[in-house]
């Protein structure tokens, strides 16, 4: 069995916590980075980590390490402030990288 984690500001993670996910409140970039390191360490057992969009952008380098691995999947979710459209853009980037042109 794998665990599902959520990293985000304390407001954002509140709802997910009630759903039964393992949530980690991180209000600053450094806090989020430390949490990410901790839960992705060997034997962390996380299959999916949802991370709030602005933190996802800030930790892009740390997250890129896991791009080729099957676990964990690190997915950006919009926070309480609403979607910035950044995740859709990063999806388009992946398409651009693979196909060589934007097909949307």
């Amino acid at each position: 069995m794998y665990k599902i984690g959520v990293i985000g500001s304390s407001d954002t993670v509140l709802g997910f916590r009630a759903l039964g996910l393992n949530t980690f409140a991180a209000d600053t970039e450094d806090e989020a980075r430390r949490t990410l390191r901790e839960i992705t360490a060997e034997g962390g057992g996380y299959a999916i980590i949802y991370i709030e969009e602005h933190l996802h952008t800030a930790l892009a380098k740390d997250i890129a390490e896991f791009a080729d691995k099957i676990t964990p999947a690190i997915i950006a979710v919009p926070g309480r402030g609403g979607s910035t459209g950044k995740s859709l853009r990063s999806l388009e980037d992946a398409v651009l990288r693979a196909v060589g042109s934007n097909i949307f």
Partner: protein
């Protein structure tokens, strides 16, 4: 240029021809792999975009509902109500193989009770229930999103790698070997001709001296 360092021998020529054949076959295979990966990728990515939009809409409406609950009940009470979840969610993961790329498939399970609301109804407002309902509705899509986005990431990097290999073979390795082969054949023919001419010359001289 590689041709400079190649010794123009028959053995080298045979070796190069064999290598060229392998390279051509590898190129064809990799090209097929790339095309198939691309087809799968495009199929998945279309769904992924829709799913992403759907999830973002769902989450933002859940967040709005939560904000409404906060304004009715007060932020501290909402926090208190949600602090101790009734259930834990875990996921099973199996692996699907798309053209030798392993992609995850998730299957989530809720443990303990299925009760969604970790609070009593006396001190909470209906808005909070609505927010929790919305959040739990969007959750299965959120899991689906994790699966497809991870797949997209993994496939994208594999396609990039394969495309690089195909191009390296097509535009560097194969032309290089072809020029080498041409160089060796020409050199060998040249040697043949010069030997023939020398023999003719020698024969002429021998005949004259008789």
């Amino acid at each position: 240029m590689a041709t400079k360092t190649i010794s123009p021998t028959r053995m080298e020529l045979t070796r190069l021809k064999a290598r060229l054949k392998t390279a051509r076959r590898g190129h064809k295979l990799l090209k097929d792999k790339r095309d198939e990966l691309m087809r799968q990728f495009l199929e998945i990515v279309r769904g992924c975009r829709e799913l992403r939009e759907h999830v973002e809409a769902g989450l933002s409406s859940a967040n709005q509902a939560l904000a409404a609950a906060s304004s009715v009940m007060g932020g501290a009470d909402v926090k208190q109500a949600l602090l101790f979840p009734m259930r834990t969610v875990q996921t099973d993961m199996s692996v699907r193989n798309i053209m030798s790329v392993n992609v995850p498939i998730y299957d989530f399970k809720t443990e303990k009770t299925d009760a969604l609301y970790p609070y009593g109804f006396a001190q909470t407002s209906g808005e909070l229930d609505a927010a929790m309902d919305k959040l739990s509705d969007v959750f299965s899509d959120l899991l689906q999103l994790a699966q497809t986005e991870k797949t997209v990431q993994l496939l994208a990097s594999e396609i990039e790698k394969t495309r690089r290999r195909v191009n390296a073979l097509e535009y560097v390795m194969i032309p290089e070997m072809e020029t080498s082969i041409k160089y060796i054949t020409q050199k060998l023919e040249e040697n043949d001709r010069s030997t023939k001419v020398r023999l003719m010359k020698v024969k002429e001289m021998v005949l004259e001296n008789k």
